[in-house]
Amino acid sequence: MLAYSSSSYSEEVFGSTQNAASPGLTWVMTNILPQFAGLEVNGLVYQYTTVKDPDSDMIVYVQNENAQSDGYIFRNADDWSGLPGNTINKSFALPNTLGEMWGNGSIEIAGEGSVIDPSVIYTYKYDPCFDPQSDPSCPGYEEIVEVPEIPFSDPLEDQLVLDELNRQAKIDQEAEEEDRRRRQKESKIKDALENLLGDGSNPELISADAERMAMALFSINLPVDYYNPLEGGEYVETVILDGGTIQDNKKARRANFAQQVLHQEMVDSQYGSGASAQQEK
């Protein structure tokens, strides 16, 4: 037989609380139960002493509110009516219930009498590996990947970036200035050329051929009205039929009929009546 043991084996831890009722007859469970994930309450032991007249009525409730709904998750009543006071000691084995369901506890008295020396102790259990990541020895534990911490730096505060931005801004500014100067220069040239060409006192600026062509174009009389009448007439028939009559072309007629039939089939097929229509034909 092979025996095997592992340090990663998880065992439940059992424990009990301090006396929840030591400060008084009410207590807050979050201050009583240890805050372990998955902790479950599985028992309760209480003890108190009643001080009362044996003839008086008195009921003592030991209880815990249900933290997740209305009512109580635990409530037990001791009826001391018509009985002399005494010390009561009770223990309860409870089904495992998540600790977070246990709301505030109290010892409540109905009737005449008082309670002294109260003691309420809860027993619990928990699995230290309820969260496998809580301990590297827990089964299912996964190594945590350490993410390097990268200090944040504003790129706009980086000197190299600032230098580059300044350089680029300077280049853009120079290019813009160059472009502005170029456009200004072109504008000056254009204005000067217009002034030069617009002045008729500089005939030597164009060649003799160009001047002749210009004179010819200016000499053409362009129509001044789009509604001038066109010259009309009649085109008479110049072809003469030799022989009298023209016979019908039967081949052409048959081909024309075949095309008509084919066209009709295509039209009928679109309306789903092609077969019937064909049969009718």
């Binding site: 003890q47 009643t50 003592v60 001791d78 001391w80 009985l83 002399p84 005494n86 009770k90 223990s91």
Partner: protein, 164 residues
């Protein structure tokens, strides 16, 4: 017709057998007595031994666990002799008592009201299922203001669970 009948009877006699089957049962007591706290005698004065806590003593506590109600009664007797002690040549006056000191059910609180006391014994009808704690007081007064001899003194409290 008669003969076969006789033969048959003879055959029955010849093949007859007897058997016994045993029935075994065990009864566990439904009443358990547990000595929870041992008593201690305090010696506040030379002639006195007492379990009174104010005089340095400790009262013994006996717990009765009853699973079934109304089937048992508890009989507890405080000591009237030392089980072991130095040689005593005078009378020891014994006093004591039994009280219910703790209950697991409030209805048991009535046990003291209904207890029966005689001689050095106290009887309780165990009418409620659960645990009941009985505290026993014991006091030994030696002679007439006479000093007890030095030594170790032991006494025994008897607790019984008597089926009704």
């Amino acid at each position: 017709m008669l003969k076969p009948v006789i033969v048959l009877a003879g055959s029955l006699i010849a093949t007859g057998a007897a058997a016994q089957t045993e029935i075994v049962g065990t009864v566990d007591s439904k009443c358990i007595i547990i000595s929870e706290t041992s008593g201690v005698y305090g010696n506040p004065s030379p002639n006195l031994l007492t379990t009174d806590p104010t005089n340095g003593g400790v009262k013994p506590i006996i717990r009765y666990d009853v699973i079934s109600a109304d089937y048992y009664k508890a009989k507890i007797s405080y000591p009237i002799t030392f089980s072991s002690a130095p040689s005593l040549d005078d009378v020891v006056n014994w006093e004591g008592g039994v009280t219910v000191s703790e209950v697991s059910d409030s209805l048991m609180s009535d046990y003291d009201t209904n207890k029966i006391t005689y001689n050095n014994a106290t009887e309780y009808d165990l009418t409620i299922a659960g645990s009941t704690w009985f505290t026993v007081a014991s006091e030994a007064d030696y002679g007439y203001a006479k000093s007890l001899p030095a030594g170790s003194y032991n006494a025994v409290v008897e607790a019984e669970c008597i089926p009704l």
